[in-house]
């Protein structure tokens, strides 16, 4: 079984991204035998009112049973925008959102800002994991209209310490390894799950040895990144890097546990 914890649908305003609909995502999932995908609407980055993006995705998912059965909604929430608490409640209780996705660089707040801390604590109180894509695209190739900020893993250490009982999904990690021993310890000892889509996951075998097999899960970052690389990082692991039990955790076990599926 495979679960992708980092998928998206919707338009990216700066270039054409084929495969950005629920239908196309499902086709890709079938092609690579991915059973479930955690999905957010990319429009939630760009709409001022992110709830409109959540509504769009919810309507798409509920329109067909095959979407409902295999797409897991993560809601885009902007804690600087009016009504976010109501939006979160609707997404959680009405739309069946399992977690939330935050985009601090796009929505213009910092990880230590009170609004961010309040949202992470609120999600924690409702048992919802909080996903942070560390970047959406490579800033070197970005549009001149796009943000330049890329986060690195180190920058999340204070937030994890500040809300130690929250669950964090850190996605598309471009930089941050290697970490200091005390920083690695924070990742090991808290509820943190990294996906396999990021550039910095250049040697997954090495990193599961350092941080633990339970700290990683399949992620594609589709449609902005290719669909295969995140999967390849797991499937190409050698037997001395990951036995079959470890592979199953990376493919789906860690995601199931973390998301409560």
């Amino acid at each position: 079984m495979f679960i992708d914890i980092n998928a998206g649908v919707g338009h990216w305003p700066f270039r054409q991204t084929p495969g950005n609909t629920c239908e196309a995502l499902l086709h890709r999932m079938d092609q690579y035998r991915v059973d479930l995908s955690v999905v957010s609407n990319l429009h939630g980055i760009f709409y001022k009112d992110t709830q409109a993006a959540n509504e769009e995705l919810y309507e798409q998912i509920r329109s067909h049973r095959r979407f409902r059965d295999r797409l897991v909604l993560f809601a885009a929430i902007n804690p600087l925008y009016a009504g976010w608490k109501r939006d979160l409640k609707i997404c959680r209780t009405g739309f069946g959102a399992v977690g939330i996705r935050l985009y601090p660089a796009y929505h213009d707040y910092g990880l230590s800002d009170p609004c961010c801390l309040e949202l992470v604590r609120t999600a924690r109180d409702h048992g919802m994991p909080v996903a942070f894509p560390l970047r959406m695209v490579d800033s070197r190739a970005r549009s001149w209209m796009d943000v330049s900020k890329e986060w690195n893993l180190k920058e999340f250490i204070p937030l994890i310490r500040e809300v130690p009982d929250a669950r964090f999904l850190l996605l598309n990690v471009p930089a941050g390894f290697p970490l200091k021993e005390e920083e690695e310890k924070v990742l090991r000892e808290h509820q943190v799950l990294l996906d396999t889509s990021g550039r910095n996951i250049s040697d997954l075998g090495r990193w599961i040895k350092k941080l633990g097999t339970e700290k990683f899960a399949l992620g594609t970052h589709t449609p902005l990144l290719d669909y295969v690389t995140g999967l390849l990082r797991i499937e190409s692991l050698l037997p001395d890097e990951a036995d079959e039990t470890a592979r199953q955790l990376l493919r789906s076990g860690n995601a199931k546990r973390f998301l409560g599926l």
Binding site: R15, Q16, T17, P18, G19, N20, T21, E23, A24, H27, R28, D30, Q31, Y32, R33, V137, D138, S139, R140, A141, R142, S143, W144, M145, S148, R199, S202, T222, P223, L224, L225, D226, Y227, V228, T229, G230, L231, L232, R233, E235, S236, L238
Partner: protein, 300 residues
Amino acid sequence: MQEAASSAAGLAAYRNTAENAVYAGPAHNSGNLMDEVRKYRKIDAHEHVGLSGTLEDQLKMADKLGIETLVISRPIVVQTEAETTPEKFRQGNDLVGKSIRQHPDRYLGLFYVNPIYGKESLEEIRRCVDQGMVGLKVYNQVKINNPLFYPIIERLIDLRMVILVHSHCGIGVGGKRTKYGNIQPNVSIPEDFVEIAIRYPEAMFLYAHLGGGGDWEYACKAMADYPNIYADTSGSNNEGGLVDYAVRYLGADRLVFGTDGSYYQGVGTLLASRLTEAEKKKIFFENFNRILRKSGNHVH
């Protein structure tokens, strides 16, 4: 003029697929992605030695992903162009030669020179060819369209060997409407490739790392009409659709597989493309081998 990629039929097919967004690639009936990986012979057209890790580490990673041949070079990374002295590029080439001798069944070598030192560069090319190296790699000391390069390019034409050129294409990253902001002053940009490709239509220029962080859409469009410009797929930025887009503009015969150390991305982005199996075979192996065949250095 390049024809296939810009044909109306090709464009219509691309648009149809992009808009319907349904990938026509094969289902993995075996359920094993690695079977798909191993299905394709691979020549990694853009690799290095001496920058990080050991040869054994590199070959272990190559083995994981079924990369049988790695085309290696040792670029000299310095502050000013004149610092890349003949002594330094000879040392780098010696490292490449030593690596090839250690693993002759896995490595092919590209020599490295600095055209500021014209006489020494031509002598070095002769020395490296005598050692069995198969082409030229250049970095950012001198733009590829600088007249200093002319005698070197002419030598490579005589040798029927490829010229792999480090590239940059940062559009707007230096600020709104800044076409090439914040870059190394002598790095080659797509327009430089076009200029030199027109001057030397019989030479083979290989635009390095489409996935290396540059604007690959811009680069592909800029170079679309020049059949002696090839591009490699290497780099860490495995953006979805990169390979399909490159084939749309350059055609499936002008794209070659590469990693530049980003092994997973190199293999993953090509496997994930919507290309046919025959097109993937070309890009993973056949296209670069065709280039090598011109000088009799092809892989059997």
